[in-house]
């Protein structure tokens, strides 16, 4: 069936380094993708989104890249900080029958070490 998955369950980085979190998706009809950050004890928080007609979008310290050829999505975090430690989820928007819904991947835990 259709699915969204992540390559690495855990990513450890040094403070100040750049982080790259990857995500594979299988539904070629998905038109929109979102990255969420979930800190311990909290709900997912929106980070950045990208439409399927784009291949790159930048925010504050974050960049999302979309490669539709290989159905791959990545989140790059520049100068990673301890406050970036969290679980990151990618989600794809599907619209079966015209009703939009998000399909979430399993998540990658980002651990930032001093």
């Amino acid at each position: 069936g259709e699915s969204v998955g992540l390559h690495l369950p855990t990513l450890s980085v040094q403070e100040g380094d750049n982080s790259i979190i990857n995500c594979a998706y299988s539904n070629s009809a998905s038109d929109y993708f979102i990255w969420y950050k979930q800190e311990s004890g909290k709900g997912p928080q929106f980070i950045i989104d990208i439409r399927s007609n784009m291949d790159k979008r930048q925010g504050q310290r974050v960049t999302v890249l979309l490669n539709k050829t290989v159905k791959h999505l990545s989140l790059q975090i520049a100068a990673t900080q301890p406050g970036d430690s969290a679980v990151y989820f990618c989600a794809e928007n599907m619209a079966p029958g015209g009703y939009n819904k998000l399909i979430f991947g399993a998540g990658t835990r980002l651990a930032v070490h001093p």
Binding site: I34, Y36, G43, P44, Q45, F46, F104
Partner: protein, 112 residues
């Protein structure tokens, strides 16, 4: 920061009890959602609503039920809680013209 609230944050309850998890948003969003999430795992959609008096079942089968009598309120009810219902329940809402869902902090439910 989205204005969506869930209560209680934590709930420990015995088997067979009836419980209602509350979710309210003050943004006037028509679309609301309930997800179930086990620790460190992905979110699974269990219910959604496109507006008042609209409720639909999600992708993951759930014994819970929902109601949407008011735009701002989307409670989830378990008539008879069981240990298999132990999980985190997340509520979200979305603007009509955007695909971004905003989440509450969640209710962590433990059924003994």
């Amino acid at each position: 920061e989205a204005d969506i609230y869930q209560t209680p944050r934590y709930l420990v309850i015995g088997t067979g009890k009836k419980i209602t998890l509350e979710c309210s948003q003050t943004m006037g969003h028509d679309k609301m959602y309930w997800y179930q999430q086990d620790p460190g795992m992905e979110l699974h959609l269990i219910h959604y609503s496109y507006g008042v008096n609209s409720t639909e079942k999600g992708d993951l089968s759930s014994e819970s039920t929902v109601s949407r009598i008011r735009t701002e309120h989307f409670p989830l009810t378990l008539e008879s809680a069981r240990p298999s219902h132990t999980s985190q329940y997340l509520c979200a809402s979305r603007e009509a013209a955007k695909n971004i869902q905003y989440f509450g902090a969640g209710t962590r439910l433990s059924v003994l």
